[in-house]
């Protein structure tokens, strides 16, 4: 087995390369993805290797990137679209929701839309407005789409290949602030056969509280679990990976054991994944719950300026506070119960 240590960004690059080698119908579309290799260099070197026809720099029109990808799907291609930043996806929203998501259903299965839409998302990088959004819930609310997010190089490498191999359209959310996170990647893993894309991953086992998250916050959750452990609290951290469908089996199994659930995401609280998981778990294992599910999320505000984002984004201390609340115990910093 061949493995290598690489960053999450390079792992996506390696996964894209492998998918392009495996299937010549895979083509990439996006802004600045060719010569430049993307503003985050995720597609670096791919145009030189596969040519301008397979790695297309497009005019600056997101709706057209998605709309032409639909036409390419009609023509038998497997397009991978890059949306340069999370906040730039909205001009493409209509094509995604009205066309990409519905075409298979509309045509009673005659037309498949094997599209992958790569979206660098989330905050924590001190960016300008429209560069730190977490728009995933818009898409998990849209039937016909699959939605995934990765948190580490191995999953990035595997899941991007699985997403491209899928005959359904997949939104692939890449946590920008983890692009430089390093990890070991097993290079033999491929998109053939579904391993990671539909399932949640238990990152670390525990017995007192289940902490569910995805994307950039997985690392924060693991850190919180380590601190909690030093205080004698055992946290089970779950990386959802798939946001649609949600692997409720894995989460239910965990909550049945722990009886307590904390969900954290950067996206706004209202109508977010946290609400969906809280409701789904309450339906599935109500009698195992020792406490109401707790959400630790971004506020219901437009993403704030860089100097304020640390207050908006769930961090280690807010996670620990959420864990304290789920355990019905005083805040470990102040000694008071924060309602």
């Amino acid at each position: 087995m061949t493995s290598a240590t690489m960053t999450l960004g390079r792992a996506i690059n390696a996964g894209l390369r492998k998918a392009m080698e495996a299937d010549e119908r895979v083509i990439l579309l996006g802004e600045d993805i060719g010569k430049l290799g993307g503003v985050y260099r995720i597609t670096e070197g791919l145009q030189a290797e596969f040519g301008e026809r397979r790695v297309m720099d497009t005019p600056l029109a997101e709706s057209a990137i998605l709309g032409t990808a639909v036409g390419l799907a009609y023509a038998g291609f497997r397009p991978v679209c890059e949306i340069q930043f999370d906040g730039f996806i909205y001009p493409a929203f209509d094509q995604i929701v009205s066309q990409v998501a519905r075409l298979h259903s509309r045509t009673a299965g005659a037309v498949s839309v094997p599209l992958t839409i790569r979206v660098p998302f989330g905050g924590g990088i001190g960016a300008a407005e429209h560069h730190s959004d977490s728009p995933e819930a818009y898409f998990t609310h849209t039937s016909g789409l699959r939605v995934v997010s990765v948190s580490n190089p191995q999953d990035a490498y595997t899941v991007i290949q699985e997403a491209i191999a899928s005959n359904d359209p997949v939104l692939f959310f890449e946590p920008k602030r983890r692009y430089h996170t390093k990890g070991d990647v097993e290079l033999e893993s491929s998109g053939q056969g579904r391993h990671a894309m539909d399932s949640a991953r238990v990152v670390s086992e525990g017995t007192d509280v289940t902490l569910v998250t995805y994307g950039g916050l997985v690392q924060v959750a693991v850190a919180a679990a380590e601190v909690a452990k030093s205080e004698g609290v055992s946290i089970e951290v779950i990386d959802l990976r798939s946001l649609s469908p949600i692997d409720f089996d894995t989460v239910t199994r965990s909550v049945t054991k722990t009886g307590r659930l904390v969900i954290t995401h950067e996206a706004a609280e209202s109508g977010g994944l946290g609400a969906e998981i809280a409701a789904g778990i309450t339906e599935r294992c109500f009698y195992s719950l020792e406490h109401a599910p707790v959400r630790v999320t971004g506020f219901d505000i437009p993403f704030p300026p860089a100097k304020l984002e640390k207050h908006h984004l769930p961090d280690l201390d807010r996670l620990l506070d959420g864990i304290d609340r789920a355990l019905d115990r005083p805040n470990s910093i102040t000694g008071t119960v924060f309602a």
Binding site: P59, A61, G71, L72, A75, Q99, T107, A108, S166
Partner: protein, 360 residues
């Protein structure tokens, strides 16, 4: 100055002086008679479908009354392997692509969201989001280009759609990549109640130059002229010279849909004016003048229209209501456990009623 291409006057006179005549030199009177038959048949489909809506058999119908020449002239210029991406009013185009009349009705009866397999007829099913299909055509054309095929994508849209961002974006992409796509705009003068002047202060055809593609304005009620300019645009695309924008000047003689009431927003005099330029009567006049449209030929054309109408009605009656569990059938092409849970729950719920029926 843009010159309106016309080969057949509103009175059915064919001066034969235009250089565009060359593009249709092979179209003899027999073929013109076939185009005439197409137009009569699709007008009958419109009449029948409108009646079926009034009888409660269809929820809605978008008539193309008045636009027959634009749609038939262009669609009959296409090769079998060209691919059409239209709006929801291209029923005459679909007719030319071999779509059965009854398959045009399915979406308006509400039994499915598509009436046919797009690949079987090389035509996408009706697109209701205004202008969205222009991007699909452009993407499809990029695919053709990538595969080195000489087929062409043709997209139909209306004057209202030209205000949509997607149409502008499609024209940018098509021009930039020299994609083999034809933008066929039917300027029928009305987007529901909004006149074309609300969409554009200048003639629509003038937009083409700004996007870097040739634009041609054609009398959309002249089936021969429409065929000539479409053939030229297709040829250009096949040569690898990229997209063309065609503005076909026509008129929506009916309502936007059967739910619309045009008397609220437009003058009867305008309609009367356009009736004088009717695409079918002008071709009939010409064909009579050449001795082609004899009483016998006219009877044969009407027999075809009668047959199409009879098939339409018989087919409509035979459409079964869809099975409730088909709700879940094609949302995804691969298993999705969240949806499967909902499907199973609803299946059990429905089964309760069956069980109750058995008990009582």
């Amino acid at each position: 100055m843009t010159q309106l291409v016309q080969l057949l006057t509103a009175d059915g006179v064919r001066p034969g002086t235009s250089e565009l005549e060359l593009a249709v030199a092979d179209v003899d009177d027999r073929q013109l008679l076939a185009l005439y038959e197409d137009m009569v048949a699709v007008r009958r489909i419109d009449t029948e479908a409108t009646a079926l809506q009034r009888q409660g058999e269809l929820g809605l119908w978008p008539p193309l009354l008045g636009q027959e020449a634009s749609q038939i002239g262009s669609a009959r210029a296409l090769a079998a392997d060209d691919f059409v991406f239209g709006s929801y009013r291209e029923n005459a185009v679909a007719y030319c692509r071999g779509v059965a009349g009854v398959d045009l009705l399915r979406v308006w009866r509400g039994t499915s969201q598509s009436g046919w397999d797009p690949f079987e007829h090389r035509m996408a099913t009706p697109q209701i989001i205004i202008g969205a299909q222009t991007l699909h055509a452009t993407g499809y054309a990029l695919g053709l280009q990538n595969d080195g095929l000489d087929a062409v994508a043709v997209t139909y849209f209306g004057d209202g759609a030209t205000s949509q961002g997607d149409v502008s974006e499609a024209m940018v992409f098509a021009a930039t990549f020299r994609a083999p796509v034809v933008f066929f705009c039917q300027n029928n003068h009305w987007a529901i109640s909004e006149p074309v002047a609300l969409q554009s202060k200048d003639q629509l055809v003038h937009r083409a130059a700004g996007f870097g593609m040739p634009g041609v304005q054609v009398d959309g009620n002249d089936v021969l002229a429409v065929m000539a300019v479409t053939r030229q645009a297709l040829e250009r695309a096949r040569r690898g010279d990229g997209p063309t924008f065609i503005e076909a000047i026509t008129y929506r003689m009916g309502p936007h849909t059967t739910a619309d009431d045009p008397t609220k927003y437009r003058d009867e005099s305008e309609l009367a004016e356009w009736r004088e330029r009717d695409p079918i009567s002008r071709l009939a006049a010409y064909l009579r003048s050449t001795g082609t449209l004899t009483d016998e030929a006219q009877a044969a054309v009407e027999a075809t229209a009668d047959r199409v109408a009879a098939e339409l009605r018989a087919g409509l009656v035979a459409i079964a209501d869809p099975d409730p569990m088909s709700l879940f059938a094609h949302v995804y092409s691969e298993p999705h456990r969240g949806l499967e849970e909902q499907r199973d729950r609803y299946s059990r719920y429905l089964a309760m009623f069956d069980a109750a029926a058995v008990r009582s």
